[in-house]
Symmetry: C2
Subunit: 616 residues, 2 copies
Amino acid sequence: MKEQKPITIHTVQNGREHFGEYGSCRNLLEYLSKNTPFRLTALCGGKGVCGKCRITVVSGSPSAPTTEERKLILPEALERGVRLACLTVPESDLSIRLEGEKELFGNKEDRFGTPLPVDRSIHSVVVELPPPSLDDQRSDHTRLLSSPSLKGIEFPPALLKELPKVLREGNWTVALQVLDHQVLSFHSGSKLVDAYGVAVDIGTTTVAVYLFNLNTGEHLGTLSELNAQQVFGADVISRIQFAQEGLKNFKTLQEKILMQIDSMILHLAKINNLRSTTICLATIVGNPTMIHLALGLPPENIAQAPFIPVTTESLCLSTGELGLSLSPGGIVLIPPAVSAYVGSDILASVLASGMAEDADTTALLIDIGTNGEIVLNDNGHFIACSTAAGPAFEGAEISCGVGGIAGAINSVKPGKEIAFTTILERAPVGFCGAGIVDLLALLLEAGLVDETGRMLTREEAMHKHLSFASRLTAVEGEPAFELVPARESDTGLPLSLTQQDVREIQLAKAAIAAGIRTLLNRIELPYAQIQAFYLAGGFGNYLNPSSAIRIGLIPRELEGKIKSIGNAAGKGAALSLVSEKAYSLFRSIKDRTEYIELSSSPDFQELYIDEMMFPG
Amino acid sequence: MKEQKPITIHTVQNGREHFGEYGSCRNLLEYLSKNTPFRLTALCGGKGVCGKCRITVVSGSPSAPTTEERKLILPEALERGVRLACLTVPESDLSIRLEGEKELFGNKEDRFGTPLPVDRSIHSVVVELPPPSLDDQRSDHTRLLSSPSLKGIEFPPALLKELPKVLREGNWTVALQVLDHQVLSFHSGSKLVDAYGVAVDIGTTTVAVYLFNLNTGEHLGTLSELNAQQVFGADVISRIQFAQEGLKNFKTLQEKILMQIDSMILHLAKINNLRSTTICLATIVGNPTMIHLALGLPPENIAQAPFIPVTTESLCLSTGELGLSLSPGGIVLIPPAVSAYVGSDILASVLASGMAEDADTTALLIDIGTNGEIVLNDNGHFIACSTAAGPAFEGAEISCGVGGIAGAINSVKPGKEIAFTTILERAPVGFCGAGIVDLLALLLEAGLVDETGRMLTREEAMHKHLSFASRLTAVEGEPAFELVPARESDTGLPLSLTQQDVREIQLAKAAIAAGIRTLLNRIELPYAQIQAFYLAGGFGNYLNPSSAIRIGLIPRELEGKIKSIGNAAGKGAALSLVSEKAYSLFRSIKDRTEYIELSSSPDFQELYIDEMMFPG
């Protein structure tokens, strides 16, 4: 038998390249997940049915397209090399391209009003040391500490490893970055160099890393990727279950996310021409499950009543404890959380919204993801809850739902022909949350879905709205409204909203609306007194407020007060990275927040049933 | 082809057992070094010529003895199953036994005047917490910190991982060990448990771990093993060279020693029925190279002029930083050193000797290993130097030299027939340092070696000492004195002292004697004023002071003042483990020690040549 040369895969995404050996993977999806930092959405878990793990083969010989691929990919796209990673096997070295993630995630959320207000007391100290000789044999460490400019400043042992090299390369002159009274990083020579930091937002679906100059507050770049843990479960509960199946799984989840964050930091450093060791401070926010998994803390008690996290306290760790490629003397700040389902990401959003600095304005903040977290301020005091809304507004558990990816239908406008738009104006691939809300609002308005959520049959609808009624079909025996026919969609399949989809939305919106009312009832606050309604998270980016009000997700009384604040969690993490004051405020928000457990609130149960109906 | 069942090796040493798969090792020496915590001496590096990697095969089929083994092992021993690990391959599952290490290292050094004086402010705190409920969802961490008894006490994040289990298993009652204001360890329930600690002495040849009760000062056990790094070089310079050959080597050295220490701690915990997590404090001493390698600090500047260590400062590390199986909240103290060749082991010996507490007594301390480190006290001030004496007194570089192992000749007494003793009264296998000094003193006294170190030929010696002269032979063309004929030695080879051996001893003793004189000259102190002469280290255990004086290793003026203090480094490490005050004294000894670099001292060069002659 001739020995086979190993097959090499060259992967490019947004100019970021990776070379690897294909080895004995079953398909390109497995290869990408196991061997590269790149992640693809694969909602069906690689079964070849969801059509979401699309890649483009740029050169080389892949296996021939399967029947499933021919169903899910338009012929022109197949012609261009578009394939499903889960069904494709290389037959030679391949060069493949993935959709740029920045494009995928819309980009809106990346913008910061930079530079951010900086107040970390980071300063540089340049020290010139006498070189050692047989008459002066002090150790490198003793020599450095003997410098009068380092009096009272702590030099962490983790930096010792690099000390001999740094001192000798700089001919016994060294520049140190000092935060408060601790050296964070150092380098050879007398050139003053700024210190850098990263803010990290670990979402269940998406991980975002933001790079900042800690001296100027300037935002240098953002990288966001799908969370590498996704292959082990789409939501927090399934990840916790996976972790509980054994210590190996638990460790895998921690490794996956830390390696991903590390690789993202290295990439950001590289494209900004920074040595990763000049990055010396990090803040990491996320929901409590994501934070537990990243820190290697057992998450199981989060998933079962009475829902107790290991910690909600703010922590200050060394980079070594997490094995991140920052300066070995660097510090990782883990901001506090409130409870098992109201994490540092929500507090970061509150911080970013400005609610905490404006106690006089009564405001609500809501972040709709798999759970809907809601925070109400009340004269400088906060009340928070988390509703198990489910991931419907993220496009999951919706038959044609997708995340905020290119080609996702993000708005639907009524009219004779019904118009819609897609993200990046690509051919439509499915509905993202905003598109679903728009379409459902339109169907309610047209009477094709009634107050109880029942979708009319075509016959029943004929007298309500003739042109729309013609789109009423049936998918697997249940009523469905077809917005995009098969021939016009990029997947080659019709894009419809089904009766079941309407039910999912109905449950989700009821949970959120009831959560809002529970908080207000707690302090007997009428809707009218709410002065601002902040909508955090990607979902809010495209959401049409009037549609959200039409389906009863947001109370009508809040019309005109709604403000979408994008990825506020990331912004809050960034603020507390560059500003000591902001981080103090972060911690004080936590101290001032009261958590309401909805699962044991009789009030909530009643309101939930109430809110199940759609507004008339 | 039939699939082969993997071969299992069962290894026993001092009742400590290990099972492992042989795999694809080349021989049992490689297997033991790669897969087990046990170490064998293999001076020739596994080439089958030194005969020192002896094991006993208890059951199973090993390969047939090779010609080399038949040369190096007596037939009766071969019969008993004695083999050389480097030449033996298993042909079936084997059970093998190694010489007990405690026996090997003589045991004298293990004795402490226990209990040691304890003053660490370790105390236990028992906390009963209200269990969580849907009405009290505080995190485990917040719940614990809310206890009034933990006010002002720090709970290290490294303990969070275990917190949920510990709280729930103890039904929300937990006992914590607190040192100063920091929790070191904890366990479920209200039972008060003592805290334990280990003192570690990393020698180039031997690693010793001492287990203590930190509440009572009681010494619970000692384990000593050959340093697992030995296969990479016998002395510090060859280890540094190995480390310099590449990052992988450097990391291997660190891993080897940390894994060995960890496995020794686990073993001591097990035989004392302690969970390793109740061990929460460690002190680690050693020569600077050993400490650098254990901490992963680059050692190369230690090996080249002007001989600069990375650090000589005392360090306080977390157990996590070294990956040791102590309590995850435990602390590892690294006491300070003086210079590249006067390490924390020597300062620990000074501490153990009591010199620092008795400033009025002028005393010398000397530790003879590969280097001879010498410390002189002078009214509370110390002067130290290190002489590159070479390892002759450890039995290395001596043709029939061995360490202090069973069967080593440790004393030689003149008389008609020359009598000698061996360690544990085993059949003789070679000379340890004390035996070499005795024999050389005898030969000098008998005139068979002259003042210049020349060994007489048999013809020249005939008129000097007839019965001794008959033992003068030639080994590979050079004069040699045969003490034990081949038929009486356990190795089947004659045991002789050669002309070259005498030269090695001559250089070594000159270096040490000149070092002592250099220190005395520095403060113009005559020998007569020295009131005490402490001999630290294993070499001192068996050394006959009058022989040491006869060969000029120790000045005649010190006769009657010599005190062997055994493994003082280990004792000093133990004292500073159990006593805060002792650890302060340790650091103050460092601050009061002046180092004299002999390589640049013209004084020393001259004295070295002076001391080359043997006393007449």
